[in-house]
């Protein structure tokens, strides 16, 4: 952060809503704070430290029981400073198997935060990663995915750093309100402390649950481990072998479109999907 921005930022505190879900440990399957959502909260906490006046509210849609409560308290334990205002979390109560999107969209529309932060993909349930997109569609807000950091907020415009593959970053200016989603590119979440987690409370808000009818029709089964495609390396020297092992394979073909109109972009994508037989 540039020091000269600091004065301006002081007046630019905004309302941030962080959407949190119940995670699932990859080895043991135990409920926990979800990795990506925790990174989202970390991003919000970092914003609060940089931009005094930022208010964070946490939002979860789901049922309330012992194991989910312990997982949700994992997020609440991250707010360990004085005056963080994170002593509670809003819980939109709805039974297991309900669709979270209408409840979240309704609540967000009613409370109108300026920035919504969410993980890219849930660790249990569908885990399709569609929630941020569906919410953005419902609310009509712009969405930025794979966020690395929030740089500044000025006059209702937020400057974001988006992570692209292979360590590249793209700076974006987005008009608020907006939704941003975070994945592994965002800074890792801080430790959750037992004391604040235990003291925190839940503001339980009843919702009119809508059963996820599509989900009910699905057949769910544990994922099978897929065989990995072997990368056959024909290398003459140690340097080549190292390069092959360390680098991701370059995509072949393709084209980079810059400075095109949305129509031209859509045209190009449509053409590609046709070529690849995704659309017939």
């Amino acid at each position: 952060m540039q020091p000269d921005l600091h004065q301006k930022q002081q007046q630019q505190g905004i309302d941030v809503a962080v959407l949190v879900s119940i995670g699932r440990h990859p080895t043991t399957g135990r409920a926990r704070r979800a990795e990506q959502d925790a990174r989202g909260l970390e991003l919000a906490l970092a914003m609060e430290a940089e931009l005094p006046g930022t208010r964070i509210s946490m939002l979860h849609a789901g049922s309330q029981d012992d194991s989910s409560e312990a997982a949700l308290r994992g997020y609440l334990g991250m707010a360990t400073g004085v005056g963080m205002g994170l002593e509670s979390m809003t819980l939109l109560e709805q039974p297991e198997g309900s669709d979270a999107i209408p409840a979240l969209a309704k609540h967000l529309a009613a409370t109108s935060p300026q920035l919504v932060i969410t993980g890219a993909r849930a660790e249990r349930g569908e885990g399709s990663g569609l929630l941020p997109y569906a919410l953005a569609e419902h609310l009509g807000w712009p969405l930025v995915n794979s966020l690395a950091s929030v740089e500044k907020v000025e006059n209702g415009v937020v400057t974001l750093l988006q992570a692209l593959p292979r360590g590249q970053r793209r700076r974006l200016k987005v008009r608020l309100p907006a939704i941003i989603s975070v994945d592994e590119a965002a800074p890792a979440a801080r430790q959750s402390a037992f004391g604040p987690a235990r003291r925190a409370t839940f503001e339980i808000t009843p919702t009119s649950p809508e059963a996820d009818s599509e989900l009910a029709q699905w057949h769910l089964a544990p994922a099978r481990k897929r065989p990995k495609r072997l990368k056959i390396v024909k290398a003459a020297s140690a340097r080549d072998r190292f390069k092959a092992a360390a680098s991701k394979s370059e995509g072949k073909g393709g084209q980079v479109l810059t400075d095109v109109t949305p129509e031209q972009g859509a045209e190009a994508i449509y053409k590609l999907l046709k070529e690849e037989d995704v659309l017939r």
Binding site: T27, T28, T80, G81, R190, Q191, A193, F194
Partner: protein, 668 residues
């Protein structure tokens, strides 16, 4: 003239001392309550002082004798002086005794003075340098003013013209002595250690650590549990006033002898910890002020005078800023390996490790500030029940070919073999396989919990995460309650300590044995035979959690002796063994220093000339084996035993003939 001056001097000093005592007691009472039987404590005081305290001081005979002469002389002289000169009971017998007492004190103070001529580094300077002079002033002054009482001095000496001057000089010397010995005792001078130390012994938080007349050395090394049920109870110690009152009293008892500093592995490694300074910082915090007056060795790399505190101010600065310094920096607290060397050496019976863990609890449970890999390890313990984050169902993978009997199948055995988290470590798996081989050779009826076992909670607790410790402990206790066994045997002293000494408070009482103890018993019972040792010279490294924490120094040496090994002892062995650096989560928090603790320990091994260092702890194995260019091989006792086993021919035919019978007889 002296007859009128002396009572005034003595009673003024006593009155000032009484005021100081009240002030000091009020400082201690800022702490949290701690139930202590005051009367019983005071009644136990003489024995605790004469037996337990002098057992520690007696390790240095010169100082012990010096202290007996000086302190004994002083106490006797003070009492007699109040009688003879204060109350004017000019009995020649009392006077003679007073002369004797002050003379003894004077001789003692000469030795104190000699020690201060070229004092070792560990001793604090400052006010402590004037103490021998004050002792001499008191003893000489009292001696001289008593001479007329017994008629050893011509009466006329104090009558003549110069008598005024002489009397004034004498009164001045006595006043100096009284000032240091009575006034200074309760107003924070070096003699404070006598006042606070005596009360500390009487009201010690671990009354069970003292020996009793019935015999048996008292030992109390398990950490005290936090009450997590009560949401209002503070989680650890944030500010000095969060300590219990008798902990604060204990800090005040410090004599700054620096024995703790001399044995502290972190201090020797140049990490920012000095147990003596830490205790003095707590005294500063309790009274409020800066540490600038401290006159001993600082924390390595941290100059004295930059930190300050107050009874109700945080000990560790809450937010990390450039100038954010409070009483103590967090890295000081995280440098400790909880090896208890300081507690073992402390003649004032101060509990440094308790205090450090109390402060760590606040940092972890309230602030979420466990450094370096701490957070990751704690998350792993919560999610997978082991610090490495391994799949709990793979806990028995190392024994896939051993066909280990499972508790879940047998339900009832003589010995429950506790594997510990070493089950996930390839080096320790070799030890475990060796131990299984030994148990089978001795035809022990044993079984393992297998995948039902969890981490004992040792690391979580030492990292301050009492919540995770209690969660693990309670689930382990519930698992153990399902089965019947006579004893638990483990090759991990940390599990041994936690299961044996710390689960009791949570409702799990077990007979736990370290594998070296168990193997020694098997050998004594004639169930193991060994081929004589043909290897090189061997030394033995005492694990802290086996030795100092549990007093087991003999069994491992007996096992080595049974193997035909003559142990080449290192200079620091037994209760003075130097830590490997692996305890207390120190490898996880990994506070940088100038040297590494295991390097120093392997250097000790090298100096002993040994080619093999026998160990009995997975942590020690890992730390010592991690030393580059080591001169000795690291072998666990179980491995040495397994290598030397002579399989008795009868053992194969009669393998496990009487399974599960013994337990039934004893338990039912």
């Amino acid at each position: 003239m002296l007859e009128t001056l002396l009572p005034i001097l003595i009673f003024t000093a006593l009155a000032l001392a009484a005021i100081g005592a009240v002030r000091r007691i009020r400082l201690w009472r800022q702490g949290r309550p701690s139930p202590v039987n005051l009367f019983k404590g005071l009644a136990a005081l003489p024995r605790r002082y004469l037996v337990d305290l002098h057992h520690v001081i007696g390790r240095d005979k010169m100082i012990s004798n010096t202290h007996v002469a000086t302190a004994g002389g002083f106490v006797a002289a003070a009492v007699l002086m109040i009688l003879v000169h204060g109350l004017g009971i000019a009995n020649p017998l009392l006077g003679g005794l007073l002369l004797l007492a002050s003379a003894s004190m004077f001789v003692g103070s000469l030795f104190v003075a000699r020690r201060r001529i070229n004092p070792p580094k560990r001793l604090s300077k400052g006010p402590w340098m004037r103490l021998p002079k004050s002792l001499m002033a008191f003893s000489i002054g009292v001696f001289l003013i008593t001479l007329p009482t017994v008629g050893l001095l011509p009466e006329g000496l104090l009558e003549g013209g110069g008598s005024w001057l002489l009397a004034l000089v004498l009164a001045g010397v006595v006043a100096w002595g009284l000032g240091e010995m009575f006034f200074g005792m309760t107003w924070g001078g070096p003699m404070k250690h006598a006042f606070a130390g005596a009360l500390h012994l009487a009201f010690h938080r671990r009354a069970e650590r003292f020996s009793t007349k019935k015999g048996g050395v008292g030992r109390s090394t398990g950490l005290k549990a936090l009450n997590l049920e009560d949401e209002a109870a503070p989680l650890g110690v944030e500010k000095p006033a969060d300590f219990t009152w008798n902990q604060l009293l204990g800090f005040d008892a410090c004599v700054q002898c620096g024995r703790c500093e001399a044995v502290c592995p972190a201090f020797a490694a140049g990490q920012p910890l000095n147990p003596k300074k830490l205790i003095q910082d707590m005294v500063v915090g309790m009274a409020g002020g800066s540490d600038a007056a401290y006159a001993g060795s600082p924390y390595p790399g941290k100059p004295v005078g930059e930190h300050a505190g107050a009874p109700h101010a945080p000990i560790v600065a809450p937010v990390v800023m450039k100038e954010g310094k409070a009483l103590v920096d967090a890295d000081t607290l995280w440098s400790c390996t909880t090896c208890r060397a300081c507690v073992e050496e402390c003649p004032m019976m101060i509990e440094h490790v308790d205090a450090i863990v109390d402060m760590r609890r606040h940092l972890t449970l309230e602030r979420g500030k466990t450094p370096n890999k701490g957070a990751e390890v704690l998350d792993n313990l919560i999610a997978t029940d082991n610090p490495g984050g391994f799949d709990p169902s793979s806990r028995l993978n190392w024994a896939a070919d051993l066909n280990l009997p499972l508790m879940a199948v047998l339900k009832q055995v003589d010995v429950l073999l506790w594997l510990g988290d070493g089950a996930f470590d390839m080096r320790n798996q070799r030890t475990l396989r060796a131990l299984v081989k030994v148990l089978r050779a001795a035809e022990v009826d044993f079984a393992v919990l297998g995948t039902e076992e969890r981490d004992s909670g040792d690391v979580a607790r030492r990292l301050g995460d009492e919540a995770t410790f209690q969660s693990l402990a309670k689930r382990n206790i519930a698992t153990l309650a399902k089965y019947r066994f006579l004893q638990i045997v483990t090759c991990d002293p940390h599990s041994f300590h936690v299961l044996g000494n710390e689960y009791g408070e949570l409702g799990g009482v077990y007979d736990v044995r370290h594998h070296s103890t168990f193997i020694a018993e098997l050998f004594d019972a004639g169930r193991l035979t060994f081929t004589p040792w043909k290897g090189g010279r061997v030394t033995y490294h005492d694990p802290c959690y086996l030795g100092r924490y549990n007093g087991e120094y003999e069994a491992p040496r007996n096992v080595l002796k049974a193997l035909g090994i003559e142990v080449k002892e290192m200079e620091r062995s037994g209760f003075r063994s130097r830590c490997c650096g692996g305890g207390g989560g120190a490898p996880i928090t990994d506070i940088p220093g100038e040297r590494r603790i295991p390097d120093m320990r392997m250097n000790d091994v090298k100096e002993s000339g040994a080619e093999v260092v026998a160990v009995g702890c997975p942590q020690c194995t890992a730390m010592l084996e991690g030393v580059v260019d080591a001169s000795a091989e690291v072998r666990d006792i179980a491995e040495l035993v397994a290598d030397a086993l002579v399989e008795s021919p009868a053992a194969d035919t009669s393998r496990r003939p009487t399974a599960t019978t013994m337990a039934e007889e004893v338990i039912v």
